[in-house]
Amino acid sequence: MTLYLLCLLLFCIGLYGVLRKRNLVKMIVGLGIIEYSMNLFFVLLGYRVHGRAPLDARNQDILNMVDPLPQALVLTSIVIGLGVMALIIAIAIRIYEKYGTFDITKIKRLKG
């Protein structure tokens, strides 16, 4: 329970970084933190006490394994996160090239 709440607190910190910071790099950093927390949250849901990693062995001592499905899904999610992150960094680099700054208050050309 505490672990879940700490994990969601981490999610909120990332959200704060994305929504409140006025710098492109800080927003990207916040997005990274959001991705960490959501991945960790899903893996926490699949953990089993005294379980072992979901690998079959020739002679098994501990029989119960942790849930492999969240791990498979989070593997997908990590790679998706990498793709999104890389695209956003590329866009940010192009914006820096055009405006010469990462500061969003100086970039704002669109009204919103």
Binding site: F11, L15, V18, L19, L24, M27, L31, I34, E35, M38, F41, F42, L45, L69, P70, L73, T76, S77, I80, G83, V84, L87, I88, I91, A92, R94, I95, K98, Y99, I107, K108, R109, L110, K111, G112
Partner: protein, 502 residues
């Protein structure tokens, strides 16, 4: 083995994307264009066939098990009335838009990359529509979103990059809300298949999990659909994209990723509760009014259209949120109609931009005599979006208003009428400043847009005029079967799980 058709809605655009990227460096332009057109034509034909299949199945969904693993162990794909309805909408618009883009995109460099990204976007949307698995829905949603982020920035000018950055950040936050919601549902039900999840949820009491997940999904899918408190990215992102992409984004992307996913999850997995339905109605009515007021003061043609997208999405969500047969019928019919006329309006703005090189309403006037086809199709689309009979927009708005009155929500009915009047005012402004009046001196030598662009516009305009015929009894099954799927609610689970063996 009718259901073997289903995976091809994803395979065709994916194969087309990979192949175009593979041969894009050295093949002739014409081959790439032809490959692209043929794949969307195939998709459109397949989606029409899918409608007849679901009609023939008589309300039973068709289920395809990927890899031969029966649900809930593997991923299943579900084709029912709602899915085939959405497939027709998406692939029809995609076909028209790609024909328009053949000439329009010549202004940009890197056309093979455009074709690849476009195909990936269509693949993502088709994947979202046919999937029967919650996590798979998330993955395809990310494919469609990611390609749309890149396409918004396709011109690589400063404003486009900025809009794309904003869109990408908001879209990723939305996706993270959806992901956390899926994680909660997995922890609670220990399954990811939507049918199985609906089955578990209906047998397992929960007081706080479902409302909490609902709020997460409202935020996530609401951001994707640009409902009003979450709409800030759309008026930047949609005008900045190339016109054909704006047509795709406003026409189908926000509906597939936002409204369709929302409706599918809330109706078929959760079995909608009155609270959820009233939240949907409130968000819909709010978007409808706020966005149309904001639209009135716009002078940038594409920006004005973007605000109207938010407003019209409000109508769709209001109709679906009523959760009565008539309301859902109106909502879904308006979804189809809005796809058609909003993409037509964006294509018109693209044609004007292609010829006159401006998006500012004050810069263009009297274009009617030089660009007759654009002017006429734009008139049709404007009258449709404003809800003037006999165009298609009139019928769907009428049904939504009737449904509001029928279910005792008179206030929402008045709001819908007011929104419609303001829409009419806003489009009269477009007509007056863009097409009527004196032709500007510098525009004396312009000519009508090229043939491929006008063909796409005319096709969409014809559908706008004839759209009302879809309500005739002999064609009504196209929409009414989609309505039936949403009305079935939780029974979705027994229908899908029962259809697996067949």
């Amino acid at each position: 083995m009718n259901n073997t058709l289903i995976p091809f809605f994803v395979i065709i655009p994916l194969a087309s994307a990979f192949l175009i990227s593979f041969i894009g460096k050295f093949a002739k332009r014409i081959i790439i264009d032809a490959l692209s057109c043929v794949s969307y034509l195939l998709l459109f034909v397949f989606s029409l066939y899918a409608v007849s299949l679901t009609h023939g199945a008589g309300g039973m969904p068709l289920v395809y098990t990927v890899g031969g693993w029966a649900p809930p162990f593997g991923i299943s794909m579900v084709l029912d009335g709602l899915a085939s309805f959405m497939l027709v909408t998406v692939n029809l618009i995609a076909l028209c838009v790609i024909i328009f883009s053949l000439r329009y995109m010549e202004r940009y460099t890197g056309k093979p990359k455009f074709h690849t990204l476009f195909a990936l976007m269509v693949a993502g949307m088709n994947g979202v529509i046919v999937t029967g698995d919650l996590f798979n829905l998330y993955v395809f949603l990310e494919i469609a979103s990611l390609s749309s982020y890149a396409l918004v920035a396709f011109g690589t000018e400063a404003e486009e990059l900025e809009a794309s950055f904003k869109y990408a950040i908001m879209g990723s936050v939305a996706a993270s809300f959806i992901f956390i919601g899926i994680a909660f549902l997995y922890g609670f039900t220990s399954t990811l298949n939507m049918a199985d999840m609906a089955h578990v949820l209906s047998n397992k009491p929960a007081t706080w999990v479902i409302p909490f997940v609902s709020v997460l999904f409202f935020m996530g899918f609401g951001l994707k659909a640009a409902l009003v408190p979450f709409h800030a990215w759309l008026p930047d992102a949609h005008p900045s994209a190339p016109a054909s992409i704006s047509a795709m984004l406003s026409g189908v992307l926000i509906k597939t990723l936002g409204v369709y996913a929302l409706a599918r999850i809330f109706f078929n997995v959760f079995g909608i509760t009155p609270q959820q339905s009233s939240v949907l109605m409130f968000l819909g009515a709010l978007s409808m009014l706020v966005a149309v007021v904001l639209a009135l003061s716009q002078w940038d043609l594409k920006r004005l259209l973007a605000y109207h997208s938010i407003s019209q999405i409000g109508y769709v969500v209001l109709g679906i949120g009523l959760a009565t047969p008539l309301g859902i019928l109106g909502g879904l019919f308006h979804l189809f109609n809005h796809s058609v006329f909003k993409s037509l309006l964006f294509l018109n703005s693209g044609a004007i931009d292609y010829v006159v090189h401006t998006r500012d309403l004050k810069e263009m006037s009297g274009l009617k005599e030089k660009m007759p086809v654009t002017a006429q199709t734009n008139l049709v689309a404007s009258l449709s979006i404003a809800g003037i009979p006999p165009f298609n927009g009139f019928w769907s708005k009428l049904i939504i208003i009737f449904a509001c009155i029928q279910s005792g929500h008179g206030g929402y009915a008045i709001a819908a009428v007011v929104g419609s009047l303001l829409t009419l005012a806003s489009f009269m402004k477009v007509q007056k400043f863009a097409f009527l009046g004196e032709l500007k001196e510098k525009n004396k030598n312009i000519r009508e847009a090229p043939l491929s662009m006008t063909v796409a516009m005319v096709v969409l305009a014809v559908i706008c005029i004839g759209g009302g015929f879809l309500l005739l009894p002999s064609f009504r099954f196209f929409i009414s079967e989609a309505v039936q799927v949403l009305l079935n609610g939780n029974e979705y689970s027994s229908l899908v799980l029962g259809a697996v063996g067949r």
